[in-house]
Symmetry: C2
Subunit: 420 residues, 2 copies
């Protein structure tokens, strides 16, 4: 294994993996701060900050940031999730040092010029408009809010427009000083990289930062609930969520395998029953996502106004039956898909860098791929059934519906059907 | 170079590239038949056929097709474009032979059972509904129709719902017999593959097919036109197209470079002017796409109801200025981005297999990457300006607008502004 991890004295972590076949690399800074670290009146500020990183520093204008990376054919981007903010660059091998120079600058020294804040505010309001115009995007925000009401983890990442409209430089600086300490930062790199060189550069850029206490997010509580938005659209968009294990749970892989067999591929129960047998939908899937202290198994399907009732009931029936009679063959297939997905994912430097950062954040070390494979192989059919039955018995259920949804059953009806 | 090409006596082509670092491979069948090979009353049949390939063969049910690939952790998918239909599988190294067995079966022996046709019809009608619910998806179909009115290349790939509602088994079989001959098929593979083994398997699966004449698509004519769909949405979605060079044109790379510098990255003119300076949009881009006998440079931005007039006029101004004063630095940066994009794209077996199939279809051979790089390097600032000025002088212009677009200027106004 060529994974190497180094921690500076102020807590800043560097993790990298050399991939000998590659002439390019992905290098990025992952910060353990996202939407769930915001107070209610701060909701949207982590994402606003991510945007402002690209709007100029003491040394570089917005145009210079873009030009320096794109002059060498590189690609720079960023994202904000509920638990992390990431800034990353993909470049050819000779340009890794340049990439890290730019990344360090935009993360540590954003200028927050008043005019640039105003311009970026407009851009983010357009981004919110775009999400609202995309039903199978916005519905997942509503599902999250429904499952975790009045909690940081339940709020949207973009934040409400009214709040984005009034953020100030102070709001941005307050979030930075609370959550952008060196102990919250991970430099992760994969591809044509050299660990010792990365550590030397990281010392130079981040070594002087004073260690600061972390401000962890409030823990999450999953609730029952439903949100129904009746609107004239072509499709009735249906989503359902149950609580799933957190990242470090013993049951993590049982849940992943259950979700995969339920709705992960073309051979999955929901795909076969709802799409292949009944033709009720084009898109249908189930997936199991995790956070530090909770997780969510999410089912989505887009269907017609007339069909949404049948689709909802069949989904519940399939969920229930899967927990009872999931077969050895289905569990074996889900395991094979997960393992192959892990191996194929390792072939992309961007996927690998992200995986390194996340594993280090979750576990404090980078478990070898063989550990993940052993944990997947250890899951039995009985284990999957037991996990799923426990979840169906104990979890609350959240429902979000958007479009011509008058004929969709109420949450209570679906809960009773599941319990029957 | 490890690219190898073999043509069977019936015209069936095999192209592959061994990538020594990989333990997985992508293998697929690319067929030179797509939406632009359909007669008007056939529009949607190429895509319908792609769906039916997964619905069972003489030897396999729909479930068996999915299970055989997913049992080994593989991933099977397909797409239909205006000029091609592709069926492809990503698997680990030991499963390449299985993947090709399944691919050959679904391409050559779809069962077209009456019940399965009815079910898949419903699925495709839902797929059309999903596209209609996604403004920044459907608007590109409208732009295409506007640029190429009453022509096969201008029609949507999914086809009109009314027509999808009445396709029969005969319609599917007629399209297969006209366009799925061995001379229209390319088996392309990249990753952990062995060319000789692929050729032997291809002989077995495809060698017996009788050669058939090709039925090329009618040639395309680009027109002036506009389509305006006023609707209550959050954003006014704006797209504009001009005619660009075809795949084999001498001007192909000049157009790619112009589009990249105009709206390809964060340092591009449109991104800087519309988003970074003015905050008018979140998403904005320009790209240059090509077909066998035509091409299209497309500009897209999503903005507000109040801002769409300004955005449209600034876009035209930037387009015009770019053709006049594009700098050496901008051209060099666009070249660097294209070259790095080519090199990074080679690191993924799926991107590489697709590239092999497309190059072989376009050129009848697979030019080395160094040829593409030499052609990119040969483009000068003067060449880009000359190309862009010629395009602005000679091309028709197509416009599509969707959302709260009352304040968007008319096509005539924009054409006059461009010519002024």
């Amino acid at each position: 294994m060529s994974v190497q991890v180094t921690t500076l004295s102020n807590g800043f972590r560097i993790v990298s993996e050399h991939m000998p076949a590659l002439d390019s690399a992905t290098v990025g800074i992952w910060i353990e701060a996202g939407a769930r670290h915001e107070a209610e009146d701060q909701n949207g500020v982590a994402h606003f900050l991510e945007h402002m990183a690209f709007k100029g520093t003491a040394r570089r204008s917005a145009l210079q940031i873009a030009e320096e990376i794109e002059d060498v054919g590189g690609y720079i981007n960023a994202y904000t999730s509920r638990e992390m903010t990431a800034y990353y660059v993909r470049v050819l091998k000779p340009d890794v040092a340049l990439a890290l120079d730019v990344l360090a600058d935009i993360v540590l020294n954003p200028a927050f010029e008043a005019r640039e804040i105003e311009v970026e505010r407009s851009v983010i309001l357009q981004e919110i408009g775009q999400a609202l115009d995309t039903p199978d995007d916005i519905i997942f925000d509503w599902l999250q809010e429904t499952a975790y009401p009045s909690q940081p983890i339940g709020r949207s990442i973009l934040g409400p427009s009214a709040q984005v409209a009034r953020f100030t430089e102070d709001d941005l600086r307050r979030f930075v000083s609370a959550h952008y300490g060196p102990g919250q930062m991970i430099l992760a790199a994969a591809g044509a990289v050299d660990h010792d060189a990365l550590v030397r550069m990281a010392e130079g850029f981040f070594g002087h930062l004073a260690a600061r206490p972390a401000h962890p997010a409030a823990s999450a509580r999953f609730h029952n609930g439903e949100r129904r938005e009746d609107r004239m659209l072509e499709q009735a968009h249906f989503t359902l969520a149950l609580e799933a294990p957190d990242y470090r749970s013993e049951e993590f892989y049982a849940s992943q395998i259950f979700a995969n067999a339920l709705g992960g591929g073309m051979s999955s129960r929901l795909f076969q029953r709802l799409r292949e047998d009944r033709g009720l939908c084009y898109t249908v899937f189930a997936q199991s996502g995790a956070y530090f202290d909770t997780g969510m198994i999410t089912i989505y399907a887009g269907t017609g106004a007339e069909e949404v009732g049948e689709l909802a009931e069949l989904t519940i029936d399939e969920l229930k039956r899967s927990a009872e009679d999931m077969t050895e063959a289905e569990v074996a297939r889900a395991c094979a898909q997960m393992k192959a997905g892990l191996l194929m994912g390792l072939e992309s430097p961007s996927a690998r860098a992200e995986r390194l950062a996340k594993l280090l954040s979750i576990w404090g070390r980078v478990p070898d791929i063989s550990e993940a494979i052993a944990r997947i192989d250890a899951v039995s059919m009985q284990g999957v059934r037991r996990h799923a039955q426990g979840m169906l018995r104990e979890s609350h259920m959240a429902l979000a519906l958007y479009g011509p949804i008058k004929r969709a059953p109420r949450l209570l009806h679906l809960s009773e059907r599941l319990a029957a």
